[in-house]
Symmetry: C2
Subunit: 225 residues, 2 copies
DNA sequence: ACCCCTACGTTTGCACACAATCTTCGAGGG
DNA sequence: CCCTCGAAGATTGTGTGCAAACGTAGGGGT
């Protein structure tokens, strides 16, 4: 694996994992020594991340972690609403019994882990949720739609923890997963599309509310001198 | 403007304009001296073009102009079918009388230029068509959807001349533009969406037919020694 | 007291050089 | 005659140095 790829993945992880706050300055030399490589692969990584929409580059002024307004966040959800139900519908005829069982397993574990109580673990929900949606997208067998969706989803995933969900919305979200599995088992593409549309609408409401409320979060740079 | 940007735009023009055939090898040194810059900005341009999907990069094996199978072409049209009607619908409430007049003017000129006869000029149709669709997308006021659409449309635009259209399909396409304007004037988003869906379905049928028939086109590299 | 202009430090943009990898061509053995 | 192995050439990947542009602080002028 090349150094540029390593830098790319590491930076992506850092941004998506919250290690770098939105708006934070990304100096080339700082990142270079932080990742143990030269500036060249760092530049390449930053360029590609800019193409993905994770960082913003101003000529001669360097790169910063991208920030998103509420309007842009809503735009992303519009896009998801256009694509994910479609992908889910495509997945229906391709789902084997084994696939359905696997998805059911994932949805079931999400209910166990996500239900309120002493065993609730919202952080464990994130990889399960991701696995569920990724599996579904893979089943659709539609690389073009999948790529467009992935490009759109990446940015707002930054704060993609489930802490923003209130109990009611979370319960709905978990139920949706199970219902999607049911629709797959029934071979009903229209049903699956409808549930996915509802699923994203629910998520949109939660995220927009969180973003609107959390406008007060620190926009400070990480300029610890 | 930076050298990397110049290289990016020039390469894009070269690929989209047909100056570089799909599958053609893109040597860094060759491009560098062809554009009069060093390898560094060329590398950056190639990297970004790869992110756009116009070129494909294999590690240690260089870059080539991207190629698309018929299946991928159909995938792109699936994506357009998901996004463009949506964008057209969003444009409806934002369209002022002046906007409608402008779009009507464009659609009318396309009919004049595109109708069979001695004054037919298929090449002149391309910029008009592009202006029409761009105007419509701009009216939607939805940067996120617009960006996703633009990213998807770029690749297959390579052969985006209207020579593939038979008389019947071309007449339909021109009529669609006028009908979309009518829907805008009526303020009927559902109507506009439906016509746009039909418009893209028509285009899909034409392009897929052309791609299937034209599989015999030369896959030769430009290895002029 | 406020504004503008200038000089400095920092950072990015680009070019060049070296190292690592892949491809190709040729020779030897089976 | 074909296959395998090896070396040379070419190409990509990465590090480093230099020049240009930007941001900022300080001094002079109005």
């Amino acid at each position: 694996m090349t150094s540029a790829e390593r830098a790319l993945q590491e930076l992506r992880e850092l941004i998506l994992g919250g290690g770098l706050a939105p708006g934070a300055r990304l100096g080339e030399v700082e990142l270079a020594e932080r990742l143990g490589v030269s500036r060249t692969p760092v530049r390449e990584a930053l360029s590609r991340l800019a193409a993905e929409g994770l960082v913003e580059i101003s000529p001669n002024r360097g790169a910063r972690v991208a920030t998103w307004t509420v309007a842009e966040l809503e735009g992303v959800f519009d896009l998801r609403m256009s694509l994910e139900p479609q992908l889910t519908g495509f997945a229906v005829p391709n789902a084997s019994a084994a696939d359905v069982a696997e998805l059911h397993e994932l949805a079931h574990r999400m209910v166990q882990v996500g239900s309120p109580g002493p065993r609730q673990d919202l952080d464990a929900l994130v990889p399960l949720n991701r696995a569920f949606h990724d599996r579904l997208v893979a089943l659709a067998g539609h690389p073009t739609l999948a790529t467009a969706l992935a490009a759109a989803i990446h940015p707002p995933i930054v704060r993609r923890n489930f802490s923003a969900y209130d109990a009611e919305s979370l319960r709905r979200s978990l139920a949706h997963h199970l219902e999607i599995v049911a629709a797959l088992r029934a071979g009903d593409a229209r049903w699956a599309r409808a549930v996915m549309t509802a699923h994203i609408s629910n998520a949109r409401a939660v995220m927009v509310r969180a973003a609107t409320a959390g406008t007060t979060q620190d926009p400070t740079d990480e300029e610890a001198s």
